[in-house]
């Protein structure tokens, strides 16, 4: 049977350096993910809202 290495979370006196490095990396990657998805979703919604809005504005005589 092949050997699967088990994680060891003990970093001793270097905890103040190792864990912030991982935490900040996680935060940065999550920010990249959230910002990219939210930005794309926002513009998709605006782009898709366009075709419905345009005919109404152009055919409705009361529309300003």
């Amino acid at each position: 049977m092949s050997h699967i290495p088990l994680p060891n979370l003990e970093v001793g006196r270097y905890a103040a350096f190792v864990w912030p490095a991982y935490a900040l990396s996680a935060l940065a990657l999550l920010w990249m993910l959230a910002d990219s998805l939210l930005r794309a979703r926002r513009w998709r919604r605006e782009a898709e809202a366009g075709p419905q809005a345009a005919p109404v504005a152009s055919t409705d005589p009361t529309a300003q």
Binding site: G12, V18, A54
Partner: protein
């Protein structure tokens, strides 16, 4: 037209391909991140660096990505500037915030690794300074894009800045060879193979692929967002003219 860049010239084809490719790359990144983190946490302490060696698995991929993303940004800028590919400017603009985040991450995690190993958070040596210059170029690129109202002029000016900034990449890469530095010398891409033990090399390679897949996925998502933004702008303009 340069072969292999056709997809940048056809937004419809790009949108069709990126629709399934972005989630596939995202899922691949999640799996690779999980495996890389697991293996990275299972490595033995280094005989000199102790447990701080684990910072390598988040620092090095971020540092590699900071340069790879910049090279891609410069290639897209070149294609936009010379061949006027429809999506090239969007690709370059979309890469910049991701590249800046990877660069900031490389600087911060490097500082967190440097403090216990070198006894200082920061030193103005060639590697660290040129990486900081890369971050400033990314920020300058984004600021230039945002500063001009005319998008075509903004893309053109930012593309020229991106191509000028390309000169910084070899400086970053060879800085530890050309000058004396606290930063360790080249240990991965060296003649005769990597100097790193396989027990560290595997998690590092997997984490690098995870970062690369994540970037690929998010880059596609951001370019898609740019395409939708332009469509929304065009429709708003059409409504205003009607």
């Amino acid at each position: 037209m340069i072969p292999g860049t056709k997809f940048l010239a056809n937004p419809a084809r790009f949108m069709a391909v990126s629709r399934w490719l972005a989630p596939v790359l995202g899922a691949l990144a999640a799996v690779l991140l999980a495996v890389g983190l697991w293996l990275g946490m299972a490595v033995p302490d280094d005989y000199q660096q102790g447990a701080t060696v684990r910072i390598m698995f988040v620092h090095l991929p971020a540092a590699f990505m900071s340069m790879i993303v910049y090279a891609l940004l410069a290639i897209a800028s070149f294609l936009g500037l010379v061949f006027r590919h429809a999506l090239a400017d969007a690709a370059a603009k979309s890469a910049a915030p991701l590249g800046a985040a990877f660069t900031a991450l490389a600087l911060i995690t490097g500082s967190l690794w440097g403090r216990p190993m070198w006894g200082t958070w920061w030193v103005w040596d060639a590697r660290l300074t040129s990486e900081l210059v890369l971050l400033l170029i990314y920020l300058g690129y984004m600021a230039l894009h945002a500063a001009l109202d005319d998008e075509t002029k903004a893309a053109r000016a930012a593309a020229i800045l991106a191509l000028v900034g390309l000169a910084n990449l070899p400086v970053i890469h060879f800085s530890v060879t050309w000058w004396n530095s606290l930063h360790q010398g080249e240990s991965i891409f060296v003649k005769g193979g990597p100097k790193l033990s396989a027990v560290y090399l595997w998690p590092l390679g997997i984490m690098f692929l995870a970062y690369l897949a994540l970037f690929g996925s998010l880059w596609l998502v951001r370019i898609r967002g740019e395409v939708w933004r332009k469509r929304a702008g065009a429709r708003a303009m059409a409504r205003a003219m009607a």
